[in-house]
Every structure is written in C-alpha cells, then in structure tokens.
Symmetry: C2
Subunit: 338 residues, 2 copies
C-alpha cells in the first residue's frame, strides 16, 4: 500500500453537479499518532444530502470545503491501531469520506463504531442498519407517528431510506404506498418489499394525473407522508392528505440541482390541519440505539429487505453520485473499494 | 319585538367577496319549544374564518349553506327561557349567527355558555376571552412553545388574535415582534400592547425589503411564528427562522380572496428543520378551560389589552366583514346590535 486515492471537491456546481466538480487525487499513505486508527474502507456510502454540501449557500451544515476529501459514510476494517479500543481486523463504520483509507481519532466519541458482521453484512451498516435506516425510523416513528390502519406514503420508495419506511409502516399495521421512478422499481417495491402499492411518477407528467393516481392507491386518503423528493410530488400528496396528517420532510431531491421549487398549495396545511416537520437524523442521536436495535434485528432475521447498487473503485464515485441524483441507482448506492 | 333581522348568504364569491353575496332578511320572531332559550344578541363577532365558509370548495368545515343565516359568534342576553339552566337576564356567549335574535337548544352541550360580566366586558367574550384569545393561546403555547429569551413574531399583530399572541409571548419572557399594516397599527402594537417592535408591511413591497426589515427587528432570528396572513409575509419570515423554529399556521388571509399563494422556499422547512402546523381552535376544546382562565384573569386585571372596531346594526355587518378582509378594522371587529 503506497498511496491513498481520494476524491476532492474542486469546484461548486452552477446548476447541475458534474464530474468536473470532482478530482481524483493520489495522496501519500498517512501515518498514525497515538490514539489514532487506520481504516481501510470496504464500502463508501453515496447519499443525496451530499449534494447540499457541495453548495456555498447556507444549508443545515457547513459546506464541503473545496480542495478536500468529500465527506461520506464508510465501512471498513482496521488495518493499524494506536488506540486500545481497536485492533486490526475490527470491522468499523465511520465517516471516512471518499477515499480508500482514513485515519480516525478513535478517542472522539462516535467517530468510529465497531460492528458485528456475524448476521448482518458489513455494507448494511451504510444502509438499512445505518444512517438511512435510522433516518427512515425517525421520520416515520417520531414525526409520522403511524397508527395501525392508517395509510403511509413514501417517495423515492425503492431507495435506501424509502424502502425501510414502507416496511416499518407495514410492520406497524399500516397501508404502505410508495412512489418511485419506472416499472422495475415499482414492481420491486411491491413484490419484494411488500408495499401495498407503488406509483410510477414517470407515468404522470402533471399534477392532476399524479394526484388522481394517488387517490386510487390511497382510497382512505393519506395520514402520514415521508418526503424525500419535494416539488410536484409533494403538491400531489398534500392534495390527498387527511385531516391531521403528518409529513416528515427528509429530503427534497427534486430541487437540489437548480432553483428551489415552490409549494403550490400551502393553504392545505391549514385546511387539513397538517403537521410538517423537517429533520436531520444526526441531530437526534438519542434515538439511534433504539432504532438500530429494531433495524438490526429485522435485517438479521431477513424481515427487512433492501437492495444495493454497487459501483467499483473510488474513481467511479463521482459518476455514481450523479446517477443517484437522477434516480439511476436501485436501492442503496455504494462504492466498493476492495 | 316583531321581526328578527338576519343576514343570509345568497351567492358565493367569484374572487373577492362583495356585499351582493349577502342579503338582509326580516324573519318573524321565533317561538320556543321545551329546552330552548331565546337570546337577544348584543354583539356579533366578525372573523376571517367566515370567508372560507363562503366558498363551495372543500375546506376544514362545511360551506355556509346559501339562503341561510351566516354563522358567527354572538354574545347577548337571555330574554325568554324554557330551559331550567337559563333565566331571562343571563349573559351568554354562543354561535347565534348574523341576526338579532337566536333560538338555542340549550340542552346541547357547548351551544350556550353563561358568562360573568362583573370584571370582564361582555364583548371581550368574542375577543380576548373568547375564540380569538384561545386561538392565540393554543397556537402560541401548544405549537410555538416559546421559551424565555426566544423571539416570537406574529402577523396581523393588531388584530384580535395577533395582539393576544404578542402579549402572551411577552408574559413568557420572549421578544415579541409584530407585523401589521400602517403606522397607526404599528404604533398601537408597540406603545399600547407592549410588543418590542412592529413592522409595517405596507412599507415593504418586495420580499427582500421585508426580509431585511425582519432581520433588523429580530437580530437573534425568529424561533416562533404565529401566522395569520401567508403569502409574501410567510416567505419573508421563513427566511429568518432559526433552526428548530416552530410555525403555528392559524390563517392565510392574503390568499382568501382569489388564488392561493404558493410558498416560495419550502426547502427552508428542511434546511432549518422547522415544524409547521395548521390548527383550528374549535378542534382543541380540551385546552379552552385552561386558556380562558389565563386570558380572563389577564383581562380582568388589566394586563391583557385589546381594541375593538364596532359597526352599528345588523345591516352594517356585510360591509364591516369585507373591511376586515382588507385590514380596515383595528383590533377585534364587532357589530353592535342594540
């Protein structure tokens, strides 16, 4: 091992993000100080929130600095340790970024977490048993607060977060309806993930068409909505929300590249007495143990299903990320590094 | 007493409501059955929610039927009773509608409530110690959940609801900032109601100007927002909301006549992790006793101030109501009937 290949952000997008915003850099292998651990990454996680970090403008987090390794979740194996809590061979999850190796100050609480891969695949700790899974759990359980018999809708339903939302809703006795792009994803959402129905938004070019289809799929209206997309999909769902419905606002990927998309009917929030709440899962660390326990048990017993799209090699990360923003992935988007 | 003058809704507005939507009718005085009470109305309450009832379209309540007495809150005096719980001379608050007299089935829980006018003026039971006051209390206390030291903003700040919101926020140790139309209302909000500041939205024709003024008035950002107006004012406030801010959506009067106004920056709900919740106070009857106790004590002791605009005679109700929709009233809009 001589070099550590990294992907840096080198410019900020004007409108759509492109591969030219990223650059492959070959850095020397780092050496360790006391208390540090060297991790070789097996998988890098690609997630929609990264698009927001590429912008200069104010968002909920600091912008990704230019000329530095892109941030991102990683799972891997400890290859060298100068911290008594970690040994070579330990499987770990952390925020190693878009690179092959990372050095972690293991003493910092929460920077690196050992995981058990006896019953749960290592990559799942970046998906259903990781940040996306807890995101699904928090938005559904703490904001949508579904009751048995209610109808829960989730957009980007075949994705790493959406797929978990629907399955957790089903486990709570709800009708689960997904929205996804294309017949393959919709079939997967219903046949493999067990949703009651899934709408292909690509078949509906206007609000009326999508809203009518939602009416058919949700004959009792919609009580909980888990939003990953925004734009016209949010408008269409709001038209079908029941009184006292709850909307967990997790993402608005439709507006990430370019101008934000207005909400057409804010008066529905009043007329239907809706609650809408935006959240970021990393600000609710107190729920992670409870959520990870449920998610880990469900994955280990085969009751929670998920799919992964795996790109190969760190060089493939930028293209894979841009594909994610366009919905080209199917389930959790990963980059396999070894 | 020979006739009972009433105002009926006779047509639905196309865009702006007009006096032609209403008609004065002279009905015969009703006679009483067992269990009924005849109330002579002293004051009729005019409230923005009535505009929504004039439409055919789905809202949170049934539309006002055509050819019937307009609904509305009333205070008055029992003049005849065939119910053991009420005697002539009792002061009562109810939903008597736009007419001089009403017959009430007093046995129906909540249809008619006796009130004490020793320390509280009768008309206040339609304002600060009535539905508008409880509306303010619920949205502020239960949705905005203000903590001492936080900044609370309220639109339509000189109105029956807005004025109470700010005074209750001050009583809880918050900075209270109002938005109102015109220098007289703004001066009243600050000098008489005790808000820390009040912006005149009429001085700000565009979003940037209003948002900049809000920045000056709320140097620590905005933690709680009580919305009565919607449209550009909501957009401007959202731009200044702090992380984890709460928005109580009580009204959107700017869009009541004509097309609903889109929300320009829904992504702020996510970026700033806001909670936004629509509500109707009549659906939260469980809080009324607690709220009315606080509001009644504050009014009786002179600590909660309010102003009334009083039109005279039932014939004046339609014009007064249309004026309310345009912000021509100052404080609580009433019609005095005797």
């Amino acid at each position: 091992m001589t070099t550590n290949k990294q992907i840096h952000l080198v410019s900020r997008p004007q409108g759509e993000a492109t591969v030219a915003n990223f650059k492959l850099v070959e850095a020397p292998m780092p050496s360790l100080n006391d208390g540090q651990v060297l991790v070789r990454h097996h998988f890098l996680s690609l997630d929609p929130y990264m698009r927001g970090r590429m912008n200069e403008s104010k968002s909920y987090a600091q912008p990704q600095p230019l000329g530095e390794v892109m941030i991102g979740g990683t799972v891997g194996e400890v290859v060298e340790s100068r911290h008594e809590g970690f040994r070579p061979g330990d499987k770990v999850v952390g925020m190693g970024g878009w690179q092959e190796y990372s050095v972690v100050d293991a003493a910092h609480q929460g920077m690196l977490r050992k995981v058990d891969t006896t019953h749960i695949p290592l990559s799942a700790y970046l998906g259903a048993v990781g940040m996306p899974g807890v995101t699904a759990w928090y938005g559904l359980v703490k904001i949508c607060e579904p009751k048995a018999g209610e109808t829960v809708v989730v957009s980007a339903a075949s994705g790493a977060v959406g797929g978990v939302v629907g399955q957790l809703a089903k486990a709570r006795g709800c009708r689960a309806v997904g929205i996804a792009g294309g017949p393959d994803k919709c079939r997967y959402v219903v046949e493999e993930l067990g949703f009651d129905a899934c709408l292909d938004y690509k078949l509906h070019s206007d609000l009326k068409s999508l809203s009518t289809a939602l009416w058919d799929a949700c004959p009792s209206g919609i009580d909980g909505y888990f939003e990953n997309v925004g734009g016209m999909i949010l408008d269409a769902v709001m038209l079908r929300m029941n009184a006292f419905g709850r909307i967990a606002l997790c993402g608005m990927i439709s507006g990430y590249d370019g101008q934000p998309i207005p909400m057409q009917f804010p008066q529905l929030l009043l007329q239907s007495r809706l609650k809408l709440q935006g959240f970021i899962v990393s600000e609710h660390m107190q729920v992670w143990p409870e959520a990870l326990k449920e998610l880990g048990t469900l994955v280990a017993t085969g009751k929670l299903k998920y799919r992964e799209t795996v790109a190969r090699g760190i060089e493939a990360a930028p293209e894979a990320f841009l594909g994610l923003l366009k919905g080209r992935n199917f389930g959790k988007q990963l980059v396999k590094l070894i």
